[in-house]
């Protein structure tokens, strides 16, 4: 009986709305003529239309979304890339709106506890990433317990998550950027020509639209460009969960700062015996890296391979990683000298490394970075990472091959898997974020599309903002 009622109710409403659409969320708002009845129903509190069941299928009726705001540049994602993009664009006097899924800024650098600012240096130990990232680190420099190991190549700096959240909040509040937190950018708004005109987001205020001239997709997962129909490659890799452990100073002061540092050897006994084949060690007292907070180490976790776009995988990781981390800390406590070690926190966010990779104007390949390829449209450098030397990042890696008005920044830019495994790291996200922000601002100023941005002008602006381009 309830099914009949539902259907009757639905029929009545959909006739009023002018048609039935199985996937209302994918209907471009701008191509829908505003309907008087629907408009009334969405603007009045308590009259929103729920999803319903038609012929056994769950359907969401077509509806008009309230336009929450109109802006020049919309940045989706407030992590390292998104904040760098918003700051750099705002400095050119352009109207910038930033939406962030979590309740704080900094993304994986704060909520993910990825506290190591790495890779920052070239092979010789010279820092190759400056610009916004350097500015942020300078702000941390003056804070007590804000950042350690600055300018100590090859040891990379380590930041404090709370200090960084403070710095970003402080900067956003003073910058004039319109920021909305606890907002999950869920969809793109695309016009009849297929060009992106904004994004849809969900929050406690419901499903709303922000119209924008340029959208910067700094969501990490490329949620917006994927929804807009841009080409992308989906990859799966390890998903971990970082934690912080306290009271670890007694055993770890000499080694916590990363055993790359010759002054802080990794082990008390250099050259200690031949390891046996396939031996599995428990975590011992040298686990993790020291952080600016005293007696506190951050502990990375590689984790198993998972699909970062599959909620079942993500949920399993969230639960198992927390159980596993607790168990590892218990094991850690069994080592002499470690009895008082405790688990301070597990990261609020899973350590998703890669999910979607943009099909861009230029796909940066591992062959290019290994051979030291130079690009005319270079927008910055990544530091040397393990076997790969420092390398240039071209502007083309941020621009989708077809879709207009959207730029990618952060880990979801256009690169092959091996390269993306480096460009996903925090300081490189600052680099691509800053470049995307300035490019978007140029699009506004010069009234052009991202793919037509004057690269010389962009590079000039990057220089002015202190970025390193070689």
């Amino acid at each position: 009986m309830s099914k009949d009622l539902t259907r009757r109710e639905l029929m009545r409403r959909s006739i009023a709305a002018g048609g039935l659409f199985a996937a209302g969320s994918l209907v471009p708002v701008s191509s829908t003529p505003a309907n008087q009845a629907a408009g009334q129903s969405t603007t009045q509190a308590g009259t929103r239309v729920p999803a319903t069941i038609v012929d056994g299928k769950v359907v969401q009726p077509r509806r008009e979304l309230p336009v929450f705001q109109k802006t020049s540049i919309l940045v989706v994602g407030g992590g390292p890339a998104g904040t760098a993009a918003a700051f750099s664009a705002k400095r050119l006097g352009v109207d910038v709106t930033l939406v962030e899924r979590y309740g704080y800024l900094g993304g994986l650098a704060t909520g993910g506890l990825v506290l190591g600012i790495f890779p920052l240096y070239d092979r010789s130990g010279k820092q190759v990433i400056f610009g916004i990232g350097e500015e942020l680190m300078k702000k941390l420099d003056v804070l007590k317990f804000g950042i350690i190991d600055r300018n100590k190549a090859p040891t990379y700096p380590t930041i404090d998550a709370e200090a960084f959240k403070y710095v970003l909040a402080d900067m956003v509040l003073d910058s004039g950027i319109t920021a909305y937190l606890d907002c999950w950018g869920v969809d793109a708004i695309v016009d009849a020509k297929g060009a992106v005109r904004g994004a849809v987001f969900e929050s406690k205020s419901g499903r709303q639209a922000i119209l924008a001239d340029i959208v910067i997709d700094a969501s990490g997962d490329g949620d917006i460009y994927a929804a807009a129909g841009a080409a992308f490659e989906k990859v799966k890799t390890n998903i971990g969960l970082i934690s912080r452990i306290g009271n670890i100073d007694e055993v770890d002061m000499a080694v916590g700062r990363g055993s790359e540092d010759p002054e802080h050897p990794a082990t008390g006994k250099p050259g200690a015996g031949r390891p046996s084949k396939g031996r599995v060690n428990d975590l011992n007292g040298h686990a993790g890296n020291s952080t600016p907070a005293p007696h506190m180490n951050w502990l990375n976790m590689k984790g198993p391979v998972g699909d970062a776009l599959d909620i079942a995988d993500l949920t399993a990781m969230e639960l198992k990683h927390r159980r596993g981390t607790w168990g590892n800390v218990e094991k850690l406590r069994q080592k002499p000298g470690n009895e008082q070690v405790y688990l301070a926190e597990t990261a609020p966010q899973l350590g998703v490394r890669l999910s979607r990779l943009l099909g861009g104007v230029k796909k940066l390949t591992v062959q290019e970075i290994r051979s030291g390829a130079k690009f005319k449209d270079v927008i910055g450098y990544s530091g040397a990472y393990a076997n790969a030397p420092e390398f240039q990042i071209p502007y083309g890696s941020l621009v989708p091959s077809k879709i207009e008005n959207v730029l990618a920044a952060g880990r979801c830019i256009s690169a092959d898997f091996e390269v993306a495994d480096i460009t996903r790291l925090i300081p490189v996200c600052w680099v691509t974020g800053q470049a995307a922000g300035l490019a978007a601002a140029l699009c506004i100023q010069d009234k052009c599309k991202p793919r037509n941005v004057n690269v010389a002008k962009l590079q000039n602006l990057l220089h002015q903002q202190g970025a390193y381009l070689g």
Partner: protein, 402 residues
């Protein structure tokens, strides 16, 4: 008259000296030139052929030299030997007063006998005294990565030149095993000739006794050296030989310290041993050390195996060389950045040309760490990129039988 006879000899000597440099340098695009150069010595060619029970191309040249020397006394020394030419010129500058050694017995021929007999036992004990290998060795100096290696590769020729300055031509006349061998070839040919043409004169008993002692000493030394070499390999953890190396019990004997392999290695990972790895018997023999930045035994190179004149390093094609096991990579998870949760690092996995290193996720330990599989050849690609310091988490160790 004497003037006229001397000039052409000097010209031939100089030509041969330049030729030797050209071969060893090597200026030629002929990769195996340094090997052929050393194999011209019949002492090396014969001893190594006996020791390895195999015949190499170089023996053709060695035979020519041997036959010529048996007809013209010390023909090779007088005309061809670059070491001899060098020492002769040094002796002109030296004191040359010392001649106490003129009564010294002809040590060289007993060295040759000792070595030839020990070669039968598979371990040519004093083969490293060959003058051509001593000449070839210092050319490896441009691949020496430290002062000790520079000293080691130039030690032989340097010592000979210094000794010649003080004592004159002592080495060439009395000690050099190649000249001793030529003397023997000459007198053997002559004896044979005399026996065929006239009645046989009796050989001196003393000489025969010395030959017997030298031969016995060679056999005993060879047996002893092979036993200690095998024992050394069982106990060592860090002894790594270049690809193609014969088993350790014979390696230090077959290797004549010509340093051709050190010279040939583009990665500069082969260097002469100070004795630290393989004791006094292994002094100066090549070992592999992965401490040059980002250099390892390249999957595109088999140069060292091509230039060994004695077969201490068996000549291997590229494919076979890439299957030769230098050692085994082992991971110390108490140092590894990934295992300790210190950093996002998969340098070893990325670097491995043979797909032998995988960073695995261990659900039981709830941790990730590198695991090395059977494809590992010990090429060192992982070791040289491992970022931990001073001890690398992944290192190549001497292969132990399972």
């Amino acid at each position: 008259m004497t003037f006229l006879r001397r000039v052409p000899r000097r010209v031939i000597q100089l030509t041969c000296f330049v030729g030797a440099v050209v071969l060893v340098w090597p200026v030629l695009p002929w990769a195996i030139a340094p090997r052929i150069f050393v194999q011209v010595s019949p002492f090396v060619a014969l001893s190594s052929s006996i020791a390895t029970r195999s015949i190499s191309l170089g023996i053709v040249f060695a035979l020519v030299v041997a036959v010529a020397s048996s007809f013209k006394k010390r023909w090779f020394c007088l005309y061809l030997c670059p070491t001899g030419f060098l020492l002769e010129n040094v002796s002109h500058a030296g004191l040359r007063k010392a001649s106490w050694w003129s009564k010294c017995p002809p040590v060289g021929r007993y060295v040759a006998i000792l070595t030839l007999v020990s070669a039968v036992a598979g371990y040519p004990v004093l083969l490293w005294m060959d003058p051509l290998c001593i000449f070839s060795s210092p050319f490896a100096v441009n691949k020496a990565t430290n002062t000790i290696s520079v000293i080691l590769v130039s030690l032989g020729l340097g010592t000979l030149m210094a000794a010649t300055l003080v004592f004159g031509m002592l080495w060439c006349v009395r000690i050099c095993p190649l000249s001793g061998m030529q003397d023997m070839l000459f007198s053997m040919r002559k004896t044979l000739w005399t026996r065929l043409t006239a009645s046989a004169p009796s050989q001196k008993f003393r000489a025969a006794r010395r030959v017997f002692f030298a031969g016995s000493a060679g056999a005993l030394l060879a047996v002893w050296a092979r036993r200690t070499g095998a024992a050394r390999y069982r106990t060592s953890d860090t002894l790594l030989r270049p690809p193609g190396a014969v088993p350790e019990d014979r390696f230090a004997g077959l290797c004549i310290r010509c340093n051709n392999c050190v010279h040939a290695c583009p990665s500069k990972i082969i260097r002469p041993d100070t004795g630290h790895e393989a004791g006094l018997a292994g002094f100066g023999a090549p070992v592999i050390r992965f401490d040059t930045d980002y250099k390892y035994c390249l999957e595109t190179c088999n140069a060292c195996t091509q230039v060994c004149p004695t077969g201490a390093l068996t000549a291997l094609g590229l494919e076979k060389k890439n299957k030769y096991i230098i050692g085994e990579a082992l991971v110390d998870n108490n140092v590894c950045l990934t295992a300790l949760g210190k950093k996002e690092c998969d340098a070893c996995e990325q670097a491995c040309p043979y797909d032998a290193v995988k960073i695995i996720w261990d659900e039981e330990q709830y941790n990730a760490y590198p695991v090395v599989n059977d494809k590992c050849t010990g090429c060192g690609a992982c070791e040289v990129v491992c970022p931990t310091s001073p001890v690398r988490a992944i290192r190549v160790w001497t292969l132990k039988p399972a």
